[in-house]
């Protein structure tokens, strides 16, 4: 009886906290329907008097949003796809293969997780700008723009990443050593074993990393700001700055556009939700 009551109260607290987490989202949604007068009103207005759907129209008619969504989709899809292949293979190698220097290499890759991206951003920009034989560059990386202002420039820095390797390694380490023995008896080589056994078993962790990577890439602002130069390469996050000028912010349109740009991520989370929880539990990352 006491146990049931405790569980009831814990559930109530969890429900309250969950609703609390949703408050910013609802505020965004409600602000997207307000008038600027209501946003700036001295007394806080929670629900708008008349829902201004025109904020969405006004926001979407400013700039080429089809292009911005397309750019974000291309960059996110390729980044997620390629990073899943690279990270899973690296994670598998660190977890299941035995080769000299394996642990040292893994520690080095972990150290990379500790370097803040702000530190590597400008050197990375210089490397991509001077990449040989691309974007008009010669063999020595001179003469052109390299991968500046290109999809490749936006994608390349995000396709690897120590976090993904770590995640896969932890996941693949949970499998018993006898599994590898059984696979070897069946005559599969290491690559076949990865492809036919570990990948199908690793669905949850693939979903987790896909969701993480998708969120990270879709929401990235600073890197696209640096690496792109024109409107045709803008991502949705960069486009959101259109609603802010030197002195004012058009909150209503900004919130309308933000609501629309967050929809694809909400869909990703809804689809990956089941695997997401499973993946976190199985990798031992319980907070």
């Amino acid at each position: 009886m006491e146990n049931r009551q405790t569980r009831y109260w814990i559930s109530m607290i969890m429900l309250f906290l969950s609703l609390l987490m949703l408050v910013p989202f609802f505020l965004m949604l409600l602000t997207s329907f307000k008038t600027m007068g209501e946003v700036q009103s001295a007394s806080f207005i929670f629900i708008p008097e008349h829902f201004q759907f025109s904020n969405y129209v006004d926001a979407m008619t400013r700039g080429d949003w089809v292009r911005y969504f397309y750019n974000s989709l291309v960059v996110t899809a390729i980044t997620v796809g390629v990073s899943l292949i690279i990270n899973s293979m690296a994670g598998y190698a660190f977890a299941r293969l035995h080769f000299p220097g394996r642990d040292t290499l893994f520690i080095i890759s972990l150290i990379a997780m500790m370097v803040p991206p702000q530190v590597t951003m400008i050197p990375l920009f210089i490397i991509l700008k001077n990449f040989p034989l691309v974007g008009g560059n010669d063999l020595f990386g001179q003469g052109g723009m390299g991968w500046v202002n290109s999809y490749m420039g936006m994608i390349l820095p995000y396709i690897a990443g120590a976090f993904g390797v770590f995640l896969f390694r932890q996941f693949f380490m949970n499998f018993p050593g006898s599994l590898d023995d059984a696979v070897a008896i069946d005559g599969l080589n290491k690559f076949q074993s990865f492809l036919k056994i570990y990948v199908p078993l690793g669905k949850p962790i693939f979903a987790v990393l896909a969701a993480f990577k998708a969120t990270q890439t879709w929401n990235e602002y600073t890197w696209p700001l640096i690496i792109t130069n024109n409107d045709t390469m803008k991502t949705v996050q960069l486009a959101l700055t259109m609603f802010k000028d030197e002195s004012t912010v058009i909150w209503t349109q900004l919130m309308a556009a933000t609501t629309l740009t967050s929809l694809p991520l909400i869909l990703v989370f809804l689809f990956a939700q089941r695997y997401f929880v499973e993946g976190i539990v199985t990798t031992g990352m319980k907070g």
């Binding site: 009103s41 920009f125 001077n130 640096i226 024109n230 700055t241 259109m242 000028d245 002195s247």
Partner: protein, 425 residues
């Protein structure tokens, strides 16, 4: 055989000489040059104008292509992008810079000195001297101002009438400003201000305070000597005046940097300092305000002074196409482009020959605006201006909140700024 070879050689040589003496031959062979032009975005009309202007330039200058980049309006984002571009070798050929950038970036060698180009420019005498002055750093013109953006004292004529004041006689000096602010303030039974007499910011006051400092004769920063002068008695006098007025409970607190929070925009204040674009937007969203809003002349204390921000055309020091970049700047400074800007974007002109046209277009509004441009000064052009602004903000907020008296707050600010500058130097 030898004769044939010699003959062929001579024919080839003469062909080369003929081609070299005819520039058209080379001009035809030359591929178009691409220059990059970066400007901070503002609104839809503003951004479209610059993009279209670049296209018009390409039509009249087929040998030059312009690659336009709209930057975010946030200074921190612009700085990040410019820093990456500087280190990566992709700095723009033409940058529309803020006035503050002349000190902060110009002092670091980001911009190419325009003096040589300006000397050979046929229109140079038609441009206001102040335009050249504001873009100067250590006697070199690093930027050419094209977009003055003054902070204009606006007032509500209907509120003036309500308070028994003449709606056609706005304040012209400090005494009148203070007296009118007190008369115009409305309070409820608990003495809370329901409608401010004057918008006095609670934070981020640098732009608000600068004209008052200068009207009182202060320099704020001695640019020639590179010295801050925050503890000058004229600075203290100006801050004292504003704090005393604030203590009369005539304002509703707000953040001056967040322009959308200014009470005047929502009918919650009778007098305020606004930028022309804000005034126009306000009138556009509520046309009935057109007859209710008036512009006050530049206030005079010991002298007349207003705050006038600027955007300037600059050429990147690393640009490989400086001549083409200057061609583009000349095009953007042409009478046609300036006319387009004042008609469609309400940007004040910076050419003497266009002043009358600009005023005639909307006399009541533009005449006052031109005065603000003429008496306008922007932020100080020193490399450490952001530090000076930080300490001005700090001193103001200490005085505003009653933590320190104005003289003590400014003296402390001067001492702390000098201490920090030692490390910077």
């Amino acid at each position: 055989m030898k004769k044939l070879s010699l003959g062929l050689f001579l024919v080839l040589l003469s062909l080369v000489v003929i081609a070299a003496s005819n520039p058209a031959v080379f001009a035809k062979a030359k591929a178009p040059v691409t220059i990059s032009f970066w400007f901070p975005g503002a609104d839809k009309v503003n951004d479209s104008y610059f993009i279209e202007a670049a296209k018009s330039f390409e039509k009249t200058h087929p040998q030059i292509r312009v690659e336009v980049t709209v930057l975010p309006a946030t200074q921190a984002d612009v700085d990040l992008k410019l820093n990456a571009a500087l280190l990566g070798g992709t700095y723009p050929d033409v940058l529309s810079a803020y006035l503050a950038n002349i000190g902060t970036r110009g002092s670091q060698g980001d911009f190419f000195a325009l003096d040589k180009f300006i000397r050979g420019w046929s229109d140079k005498n038609d441009i206001y001297d102040s335009v050249y002055d504001i873009g100067k750093y250590r006697n070199k013109i690093l930027g050419l101002g094209y977009y003055p953006n003054p902070e204009v004292l606006v007032y509500r004529k209907d509120f003036f009438k309500e308070a028994g004041l003449d709606p056609n006689r706005p304040p012209t000096n400090w005494e009148e400003l203070a007296a009118y602010a007190k008369k115009l303030t409305l309070r409820d039974n608990s003495h809370n201000v329901t409608r401010a007499g004057l918008d006095i910011p609670a934070i981020s006051s640098n732009v608000f305070m600068k004209p008052f400092f200068r009207q009182n004769g202060a320099l704020v920063v001695n640019e020639k000597k590179g010295q801050p002068m925050l503890d000058d008695t004229k600075m203290i006098g100006a801050l004292d005046f504003i704090i005393k007025l604030k203590n009369e409970n005539v304002s509703i607190p707000f953040n001056y940097q967040k322009k959308e929070t200014i009470p005047f925009l929502y009918g919650k204040s009778a007098m305020s300092f606004l930028q022309p674009t804000q005034i126009i937007k306000m009138m556009d969203s509520d046309p009935s305000l057109k007859d209710k809003i008036g512009l006050a002349p530049v206030l005079s204390g010991k002298k007349k002074s207003a705050f006038c921000g600027y955007r300037l055309f600059t050429i990147g020091n690393t640009s490989k196409h400086k001549n083409e970049a200057w061609e583009f700047i000349q095009f953007m400074m042409s009478k046609e482009q300036m006319r387009y800007r004042f008609v469609n974007l309400k940007i004040p002109v910076v050419r003497k020959s266009m002043e009358d046209d600009f005023i005639a277009a909307e006399p009541a509004f533009n005449k006052v605006l031109m005065d603000y441009v003429k008496y306008g000064q922007g932020d100080n052009v020193v490399a450490w201006n952001t530090l000076a602004v930080k300490y001005i903000h700090q001193a103001y907020e200490e005085a505003y909140n009653g933590i320190k008296k104005p003289d003590q707050a400014l003296k402390d600010a001067q001492r702390n700024l000098l201490r920090e500058l030692k490390h910077v130097k």
